[in-house]
Amino acid sequence: MATYLEFIQQNEERDGVRFSWNVWPSSRLEATRMVVPLACLLTPLKERLDLPPVQYEPVLCSRPTCKAVLNPLCQVDYRAKLWACNFCFQRNQFPPAYAGISEVNQPAELMPQFSTIEYIVQRGPQTPLIFLYVVDTCLEEEDLQALKESLQMSLSLLPADALVGLITFGRMVQVHELSCEGISKSYVFRGTKDLTAKQIQDMLGLSKPAVPIQQGRPLQTPEQPVISSRFLQPVHKIDMNLTDLLGELQRDPWPVTQGNRPLRSTGVALSIAVGLLEGTFPNTGARIMLFTGGPPTQGPGMVVGDELKTPIRSWHDIEKDNARFMKKATKHYETLANRTAANGHCIDIYACALDQTGLLEMKCCANLTGGHMVMGDSFNTSLFKQTFQRVFNKGFNGEFRMAFGASLDVKTSRELKIAGAIGPCVSLNVKGPCVSENELGIGGTSQWKICSLDPSTTLAIYFEVVNQHNAPIPQGGRGAVQFVTQYQHSSTQKRIRVTTIARNWADAQSQLQHIEAAFDQEAAAVLMARLGVYRAESEEGPDVLRWLDRQLIRLCQKFGQYNKDDPNSFRLSESFSLYPQFMFHLRRSPFLQVFNNSPDESSYYRHHFARQDLTQSLIMIQPILYAYSFHGPPEPVLLDSSSILPDRILLMDTFFQIVIYLGETIAQWQKAGYQDMPEYENFKHLLQAPLDDAQEILQTRFPMPRYIHTEHGGSQARFLLSKVNPSQTHNNLYAWGQESGAPILTDDVSLQVFMDHLKKLAVSSAS
């Protein structure tokens, strides 16, 4: 089994791909019996230190419907200079440049180690990256100041030739012209009126480049398109100007009466940002970065009225169908998101407020375009500041960890079809022979557009085995999948990354153990979770949970070892052993449970869940808990209430939060000040150790997690208590009052109970 683990890990590192099944059931019927669908998590731009891009065009299969890229799995006739497409079996001539090809002189794309390869291609003019700041000015003075500073700081982080633009909004929306000196100009739009892209462009004077409404001075150099230069300027040119402009930004001056929210025109501001870019730079890499400090309160996309006496919608309201603005607002933002996606731009949302800001309605803007979504309490927190800074982080090779306007093309061999994808993408609606009629996630296409992605962006792609049961695949046959990702690199180069993988087919009846052994329960858990979360967006929570439960039971029935109706006899093989536990935590996770979460929070969590890679996703599903004590080196411990001991320091990482929890005794010691005494230096070290580890996580994660330092009995301890398996509660008597662990006040079932039920149901002959 170790071999499979290694295989899986190796594949992931090389190709950024993890399949739920690494040996594929050879027929449709069997595949459906496997319960967990054949699917994979794909990280298209997985960082590869050892992957120098090649500087030429990929060779494509000449069949118009196929156009697969030449890859190591292809059969090559070196003498005839022919190659056979491994997807459609078309025989293709090598292009002239490959004349010197031979067994010993192979191009990189034919070498097995280059199952993933990246091409740099020359296509079209290179346009600089575009960053359009859309800034809410209805903020508290402090917040605004912090935000201004962050924005000013960010100018130094942008690529020097990047174009930058600024839109501010409050009651009105202002598009600032950056080209002029002297008087600062801005175009102002009313925040209550939605405008079409055409109108916006007309009003901004973008539709008639020949006759700019006014130019400040004849600054425009002829080679620069005049239109763009008014609102979007290279950073290096207007660095100072923009810094000043940002510095002078004032809070929205319109009076806000007592008991009212400020009027905030987020919907129109976004609409204008989208329209502006749509008109000037379609299909080039651009980020619209929305910074908002509260919910949209007027105009299209308003989420809540401006009267404070009406609170913003809660899950309760939504269930009761009592959220009067939600549908309309959602529709507005969806339209925007789709337009943005069509233009290849992306929208980031940085929402910092104590209350909700309407992420529920706006989520699609980030979800469909691959933009970031960041939620914080205030712009004046390190959470926002560092996160925002991290957007402009550079990778090991000094390049920005962002890519734009990607399209992902998936090709499969004949036995497979594509059912859909879940991730920060939109369908390109490319129907082909390999597109399944059954949809899982965003289906009905073999191509998706991912407007923005970074090295960790991960999509879940679901397949369907279409091979009929009575048409067996020859022994030793392999199925293949090719992922072609074309994107604009942060250096503005156009690149194509091609990953081709193959897996063995196996007959599920005769070779079930192979299939079983090749099960990747981690990937499966994440893939199932994504399906569940995807469903949760459109279905009622309980239904999704029931569906998940049923899937789990079916899986256990299929792969468990048991005697009928004897729960105690139930066993799962090692490759499945963790899966139920994942499902248990998933059920309790904020992705599926809305209790205790606002709609915004749910949207936020789900947003990140749908794009992070497997490791991070697993952390989200089942947080990691480390224990620090004098009894030994730090060790991961069970996410269980029994792990909460007085003499331990716990470090929990839920992805969104880092919680450091001091046990009762430790906390008392700390209060007593032992750590300051030289003779107890070891205690000081003990206290420091989790902090250091936490820092490490904080430094690397995007978005930066909420950092919580608490202790036994502290109010913030709830973050920990709500996550651990409530093995000891006030309900189970035998644990009450025991030395070990801490009881949790909850009615939730514990993992043990869950497992007991699972076993019972799995072995039951009734189901």
């Binding site: 008087i183 100009k185 102002v188 739009f189 009126k193 006014q214 002078e248």
Partner: protein, 1154 residues
């Protein structure tokens, strides 16, 4: 026909009378013939006077004097000591024999009085008979020499004046201007002379008697005459008076001829000499049979004769003028010739001038003398013999200008607007605030209907007062606010009656009894007056202000100080012409002169700036900014204000930012290529800004073109001159779309007043663009084909004045009246949402509202009628105030009283506004006809009910309305009602709106422009030269004239002007070098130039708008434009000449009477 002119003023008349009588006698005696010729020739100036006196007096004066107003005047206004006696005497005579004489004499009489009055009036006098009059003084020397004794002369002058008065009384109750009927009496001018002669003698006799009796008293009064004489002398200076006269005459003659034919069409078919025979009857003109006979033929001969030198002239005098005028329609050349000669001769000309006059008048003389020689049958009306506005104005000025007008008496007719007088408020509002068409209102609606005299008040609530008069006091009643009647809500005023020991008061309007609030209680004295009567302005004055309480404020909140927003078109046209730069430069300094309240150190008014073309640019000029910020709003479809804080700022606080902005605006748009503009969104933007700032205010919009850019309120070019004179003509005055009406409504609701400065190079649809301005109480200024060099001064002066002038905001005006009448109709720049409240977003010191009243019940003579105009407004410092004006009027049961207390200028103001509104809904022709008809009815009613019985052929005009025909004709000929080909549609719409908010003084000069002979100005005094009548005949080729109508100033230069004058005035050596592109007179260091420029400056100051100065050279193409303003002449666009129109009116009246 005879036309009797009546002199306005009473007092003067008094004096004249004696003179008259005296004169007549002597004159009759033998002077006529000999005197005439002699005088004329002998000494032009001197002779003239002498001449006239002797001659005209005889025939004329007596008769003239009588008919003339003198009498009525004296009755009404002139209660001076003299009057009583006169009246008595006067009346008697007239009744008896007066009529005829009156008719005959009327003409001369009119003149006479003028002349007298006019010592100064020389010019005025000049008109035919008057000229002689004037001369008298000058002639004194002559006189002695000639015939009459010096005393008599002096007296004569005076006498003339008087007699007329008396005569008038006789002839008419009130005033009797009469134009004798053709057949019966000697009609017009000629008739005057002739007709009278026969009848006159007796009359004169009678008069003389009376006169003599009167005489003595007068003699005393004569004292003054001498002085006048002395005055007269200078005036009389031969050259001046003479020249004008002569020149005028000649021309007039010509016109006279021409008119006949045309006029024939109009009404008085009688004119044409050919038809002479038949016409005579219709026309009063051919008085004597002789005329008919000689009529046409004679006239010709006359002409012939006239051409000859003065000497001949003298002989023909009577004839030539008369004939020349009417009779000799044929050769226009003739008249000119004489004219020329006259001019050439200079002094001669003068003489001649008068001569013709005399002649005209004299026709009688010939008769007397039995001189057939002067066969010139006086056919036509002698222009000099018909009522002269100049004369009337001068009379009033000299009679009433000296004493303050004290408003304590009910129903007092104030002096004319052209007279400078001081007002003392003793319980009635100053005429500067309110003027009425009549100060004596018929008690019943039947009477009112019968007379057809509109009852209207022209109200200028915030009028500027001369420095000598005190502003209305501000009364603060604290939190309880002003004391008001419980029922009709009238405000406490001097007419409220306190009863029950002061515990209650009875409303003077509705008679309701209201408790006096405790804090306001005061005991009454034995006369029933409150003890604190003199301490409280609201009890003792006609005009005062209350401080309003919060109840009088919008939303029950005290208003914030208003704001001014400057909105500048920065499209290509505006940039190219340099306009934007000019405005920005000017604003930099102008902003320091925003209106302030009272003694405040700085203005409370905040300012904001917007520029626009197809989109709008707002500017943030907050004081804390280093640089202004521009905010562009391109969503013009749905206008809004993009910023709140920093848009409206205090000038002092944001001085540097504003300066920086104004420096940069011209730069920023220097390269613009945008030609399209929007308009409605600009107003909307201003409106929204004021809304956001929760204040009232004023928008100053500088706009250049038809707003064709895609936006609300977009307009299309719909100018179509073919519509003129069709039923669709009215559409040219109506807005294209109702959009602007709705916008205006919103503006008014917010107190957003819109002032519009237009700089069109082509049609921009003033009718539509002006809607908002008009309805919000704003002003429109229009500078067609704006050019920096020529129009800069005018524009900047207008702008300065407009920005600085006193203005109230968010105003509501209501006029309350005594039970019995009711304000029913309103004219002016405002908006009305109901039938009683006049709402104005802004009301400045120049805006006037004309209110018409109708009866809804009976009035009583005892209690009279009261008006109370209450204006609630926000001052420029944001104080809410109520300004109250009260006026008490008399009521009458006799129509005569009504006619005796009318004010023609005010009447014209009303009629013009009424007509100008009418063109919105009716074809222009209908409107014109209605106007004529109404006036005919007014005059016919007078004739029927008030005038003493006389021949139907006589045109008898009430003294107070004797100028009604000439003024009405001016209204009818105005660009709006009868446009010439050069008048654009925009001009008409512009003028229409302009006139609608003009006050009486403005309409007066607008319709009858002031024509001043500059060459006769006395460079050593600061007075203006005496005005002359608006007729080409009165212009001399050797003189320079100035004509102003409140919008333009023309400087007309005759071809024969001495080079020295040209050099002095224009700094060029010859006539041909004068550039008519000049927009200002060059500054030259010589007395003449200084004088002229000071005159121009003086006139500019008098008017609310800076007038455009246009240099017109005689016989230059611009002269056409100039002639358009010579309103007594026939106009190119078909407007009738004064004479023709008068005849037409007469005909209309006769039709009504028959």
């Amino acid at each position: 026909m005879s036309v009797n002119q009546q002199a306005h003023t009473g007092p003067p008349y008094g004096q004249p009378q004696p003179g008259y009588q005296g004169y007549q006698q002597p004159a009759y005696g033998g002077q006529p013939l000999p005197g005439v010729p002699q005088s004329q020739y002998g000494a032009y100036n001197g002779p003239m006077p002498g001449y006239q006196q002797p001659v005209p007096p005889q025939g004329y004066f007596p008769s003239l004097g009588f008919p003339s107003k003198g009498s009525p005047v004296s009755l009404n206004s002139d209660t001076s000591s003299l009057a009583p006696n006169f009246i008595g005497s006067l009346r008697a005579p007239p009744t008896s024999g007066a009529p005829p004489p009156a008719s005959g004499a009327s003409l001369p009489s009119g003149h006479l009085p003028y002349s007298q009055f006019g010592h100064g009036d020389v010019q005025n006098g000049i008109p035919a008979s008057t000229a002689p009059m004037q001369r008298p003084p000058a002639s004194q020397p002559f006189l002695p020499g000639s015939a009459p004794t010096p005393v008599s002369q002096t007296s004569t002058f005076q006498q003339y004046g008087h007699p007329p008065a008396s005569v008038q009384q006789l002839s008419n109750h009130m005033a009797g201007m009469t134009i004798g009927s053709t057949t019966a009496s000697a009609p017009p001018p000629a008739g005057l002379g002739y007709g009278p002669p026969t009848s006159v003698p007796p009359v004169s006799g009678s008069f003389s008697a009376t006169g003599s009796g009167l005489y003595t008293p007068y003699t005393a009064s004569q004292g003054p005459p001498p002085t006048s004489v002395s005055q007269g002398l200078p005036l009389a200076q031969p050259p001046y008076p003479g020249q004008p006269i002569s020149t005028q005459r000649l021309p007039t003659q010509v016109p006279g001829f021409a008119p006949p034919p045309s006029s024939a069409g109009i009404g008085p078919s009688s004119y044409p000499p050919t038809t002479g025979a038949p016409r005579p009857p219709t026309m009063p003109g051919p008085p004597l049979p002789g005329q008919t006979v000689a009529g046409p033929p004679v006239s010709q001969p006359n002409h012939v004769s006239s051409p000859p030198p003065p000497s001949t002239m003298s002989g023909p005098h009577p004839g030539p003028p008369m004939s020349g005028l009417h009779g000799p329609p044929p050769p226009p050349t003739h008249p000119p010739q004489p004219g020329y000669q006259m001019q050439q001769n200079g002094s001669f000309g003068q003489v001649r001038g008068p001569q013709p006059n005399y002649g005209g008048a004299y026709p009688g003389t010939p008769n007397y003398g039995s001189q057939p020689g002067p066969p010139p049958p006086p056919k036509r009306l002698d222009p000099d013999s018909i009522p002269s506005p100049i004369q009337v104005i001068e009379d009033d000025r000299s009679n009433r200008g000296s004493e303050p007008f004290v408003t304590g008496v009910r129903g007092q007719v104030p002096p004319l607007v052209t007279t400078n007088f001081l007002v003392k408020d003793q319980g009635n509002a100053s005429p500067r605030y309110i003027r009425c068409t009549s100060y004596n209102i018929p008690c019943t609606s039947d009477m009112a209907k019968q007379s057809q005299v509109p009852l209207a008040a022209v109200i200028k609530p915030l009028a500027t007062l001369p420095p000598e008069e005190t502003l209305p006091y501000l009364v603060d009643h604290g939190e309880s606010g002003p004391v008001r009647c419980n029922r009709c809500k009238a405000y406490m005023c001097p007419f409220m009656q306190f009863i029950e020991g002061g515990r209650r008061f009875q409303c003077c309007f509705c008679s309701c009894v209201t408790e006096v609030p405790p804090h306001y209680f005061q005991h009454l004295d034995h006369t029933g007056k409150r003890v604190d009567f003199y301490d409280r302005p609201e009890l003792s004055l006609g005009s005062y202000e209350f401080l309003a309480t919060v109840d009088y404020c919008k939303n029950n909140k005290f208003p914030s100080p208003p704001a001014f927003i400057f909105m500048i078109d920065v499209s290509y046209n505006a940039m190219k012409s340099g306009l934007v730069r000019l405005i920005c430069e000017e604003l930099k300094s102008l902003l320091d002169y925003l209106p302030r309240e009272g003694n405040m150190e700085e203005s409370a008014i905040r300012v904001g700036f917007v520029t626009y073309n197809k989109v709008l640019h707002f500017y943030n000029v907050k004081s804390s900014l280093a640089q202004p910020q521009m905010m562009v709003v391109s969503d013009v479809a749905d206008m809004f204000v993009p910023l709140l804080d920093g848009f409206l700022v205090n000038v002092n606080e944001s001085r540097t930012v504003i300066a920086s902005l104004l420096d940069q605006i011209p730069e920023m748009f220097a390269d613009t290529r945008e030609t399209e503009t929007v308009f409605a969104p600009v107003i909307q933007a201003g409106l929204e800004a004021l809304k956001a700032a929760e204040c009232a205010g004023k928008l100053f919009i500088f706009h250049t073109s038809l707003p064709v850019a895609e936006a609300p309120g977009k307009l299309k070019n719909r100018d179509d001159k073919k519509l003129i004179n069709t039923d669709k003509e009215k559409t040219l005055f109506q807005p294209q779309t109702s959009f602007y009406n709705n916008l205006a409504k919103d503006c008014v609701a917010q107190g957003c007043c819109v002032d519009l400065f237009l700089f069109p190079n082509q049609y921009l649809d003033v009718a539509t663009l002006g809607v908002v301005t008009y309805q919000t109480g704003g002003s429109i200024y229009k500078y067609a084909y704006f050019q920096l060099e020529t129009d800069q001064d005018r524009f900047l002066n207008d702008l300065r004045r407009d920005v600085q002038k006193e203005v109230g905001f968010d105003a509501v005006m209501r006029v309350r009246t005594s039970t019995g009448i009711r304000a029913t109709d309103f004219f002016g720049a405002f908006y009305m949402s109901n039938t009683t409240d006049v709402e104005m977003a802004g009301l400045d010191c120049d805006k006037t509202i004309t209110v018409e009243f109708k009866h809804d019940d009976k009035l009583s003579e005892d209690s009279g009628a009261l008006l109370q105009c209450a204006l609630l407004y926000t001052s420029c410092a944001g104080q809410r105030r109520l300004r109250i004006h009260n006026l008490s009027l008399n009521c009458c049961t006799q129509l005569a009283d009504l006619y005796r207390n009318c004010e023609t200028d005010t009447l014209i103001n009303y009629l013009a506004k009424y007509a100008y509104r009418g063109v919105l809904s009716s074809p222009v022709k209908t409107v014109r006809d209605a106007l004529i008809n109404q006036c005919a009815q007014i005059l016919a009613c007078y004739r029927k009910n008030c005038a003493s019985p006389s021949s139907a052929g006589q045109l008898i005009l009430p003294e107070c309305m004797k100028l009604l025909p000439v003024y009405l004709n001016c209204v009818l000929k105005s660009d709006v009602l009868q446009p010439g080909p050069e008048v654009t549609t925009d001009d008409r719409a512009y003028i229409r709106q302009l006139v609608t908010s003009m006050d009486v003084a403005e309409t007066n000069v607008f319709f009858y422009p002031r024509l001043l002979p500059l060459t006769k100005a006395d460079v050593d005094s600061d007075s203006l030269p005496a005005a002359i009548r608006n007729s080409e005949e009165r212009l001399s080729k050797g003189d320079i004239y100035l004509l102003e109508n409140g919008l333009n100033i023309f400087v007309w230069v005759g071809v024969n002007v001495q080079q020295g004058l040209i050099q002095n005035l224009f700094g060029v050596s010859s006539f041909s070098q004068i550039s008519n592109a000049l927009s200002t007179l060059p500054v030259l260091e010589n007395p003449f130039s200084k004088k002229v420029r000071s005159i121009v400056d003086m006139l500019q100051v008098q008017r609310s708008r800076y007038m455009k100065l246009i240099i017109v050279k005689q016989e230059d193409k611009l002269e056409m434009l100039f002639k358009h303003f010579l309103v007594e002449d026939k106009s190119l666009s078909g407007g009738a000449s004064y004479v023709d129109f008068l005849c037409h009116m007469h005909k209309e009246i006769r039709q009504l009477l028959s």
